[in-house]
Symmetry: D2
Amino acid sequence: MTDTADTQPGWFSDEELENIRGRMPVLYVQAVPVRVDETGQATHFGLLMRAAPDGSFNRSVVSGRVLYHERVRDALLRHLEKDLGPVALPRIPTAPQPFTVAEYFPTPGVTPFHDPRQHAVAMAYIVPVSGDCQPRQDALDLIWFTPEEAASPKVIEEMTGGQGVLLRQALAHVGHAP
Amino acid sequence: MTDTADTQPGWFSDEELENIRGRMPVLYVQAVPVRVDETGQATHFGLLMRAAPDGSFNRSVVSGRVLYHERVRDALLRHLEKDLGPVALPRIPTAPQPFTVAEYFPTPGVTPFHDPRQHAVAMAYIVPVSGDCQPRQDALDLIWFTPEEAASPKVIEEMTGGQGVLLRQALAHVGHAP
Amino acid sequence: MTDTADTQPGWFSDEELENIRGRMPVLYVQAVPVRVDETGQATHFGLLMRAAPDGSFNRSVVSGRVLYHERVRDALLRHLEKDLGPVALPRIPTAPQPFTVAEYFPTPGVTPFHDPRQHAVAMAYIVPVSGDCQPRQDALDLIWFTPEEAASPKVIEEMTGGQGVLLRQALAHVGHAP
Amino acid sequence: MTDTADTQPGWFSDEELENIRGRMPVLYVQAVPVRVDETGQATHFGLLMRAAPDGSFNRSVVSGRVLYHERVRDALLRHLEKDLGPVALPRIPTAPQPFTVAEYFPTPGVTPFHDPRQHAVAMAYIVPVSGDCQPRQDALDLIWFTPEEAASPKVIEEMTGGQGVLLRQALAHVGHAP
């Protein structure tokens, strides 16, 4: 799973975090930003384009760790503001029930999700965003796709670690053809 | 189930609708209006106070039929605007998945829900409302309750047909003690 | 939407039902039968093959109307027994919350779902089936597909009215790539 | 949150685990065992009675950590077998979507859930159990309650850390009055 810019590493040194990552599952939240019309229908899906450490590019949803003593909804808001800027106006869901749980294993094939660095368990949410999005930090750009574009092989292929599966699960959940 | 003002009776005469109501389930939507903070946490629950035909008063959530050739999300928006006014700014959910389905039977005791007039099946949603609510038509008033107030026996007892159960199911779904 | 054999037309004559179908939404349940392993993971998805009135064949999930004074869970059990036989041992979900709601409109394009005969609103459920399935009545056969097969274009294309979308939404909901 | 007998502490020493618990959220699963009838309706809710370290007794649902490289559904099965014995025949849900997420904070009042030892985030599931339950290890007994009994103040009060809230959220989710 591509982390979106994690500016708050928590209370661990990099070394400690690395050590823990190899020994217990790490709790994440993931958010699929959407534009909605007045009936709540998702008309566009937002994907971040970012540079991977190897210099390649890929698309991703908003992702990040839940920190110690942080509520899931606070983690969602923090990561959305971090990746979409301070005036994106995300509407965090009222219910803690995620639409799915994506389990990223360091071993490929256990689930559709894979993260070579760690075992991450991500509670995933659809988040309507009504404001102006200004991606910052390591995110180069945010592109809005129609449901048809988001479900296309071209877009899915630009997502790594199974995030393309997550995007299609999100499409399915809001009533579109995945 | 108390209907909220149903100004669009569809394409049936009253007699026809009465006839159908005794012979097939009628599809409803119900919406529990909530005020949320910036993290999506529901801070207040909105209940309509209305006069029952017998002159008594009761509290209820927003309810109404889904009409022929109307999408569920359009029915939700229509009933919310009808009961809360044109500037309530309801945020219709992105996903068609309701948080529960309330089955109102003409016979009490089959489920926790009861409607002497009909067999109604209501898909129920939590709907954040950010604008100004101006109840109109037969709704006398809209009162906002804190989660603690909404869960209190006093409020629950003022709801009929099992709507008190629905309200507590809504509280549970958004993470409050029901 | 292809009805699975509806042997209980309710209390309406064919003519009356036809009349109502053109004037109000009709409530349906749909069930996607799955085989699961001991961890609950869906390993196979069951599709009925049936003859359409025009002599062609198509694949479908289990579908049928909710009758007057019938609970949703009773309708689910009735239709599953009707289509899969008396010893299929379906495990009806404990919660009334469907995984999605499929809205079939007589006009194509309003939603991904289409039924030329009527406006049907179907609450859809995943139903693990552990017993022996003996399709009967007009269902010619029940075939079990792996998740990969179920998601393949070949299978999806043999489903009409948008049921291929519903199947992929079901795949997504249980954690598979849709 | 009362852990049910955690016989597999993972790959951490007690000291290491204690250290991590004070610095990052720990991922848990919780399961509310239910008896269901053939229509999937929950007729009884199972609660474990166990001795707390201080010698008092309390009731709880099935709870436990998700271990490194363990799927959520495998963790659910492991903890259910650990607490209910090898022939309980739990039916692990097909979908990874929990019915709620309970966030246990070391500080009381942040959420309805509290665990003085740690920040635990529990994905909670309803699990039908059809076999014979033989509680073992530190669980003294498993008692089945009707929905009315489970919702009674007497039972709720015997649950600590907010598990009474979780039980009522489970009641609400399966369609009972919470």
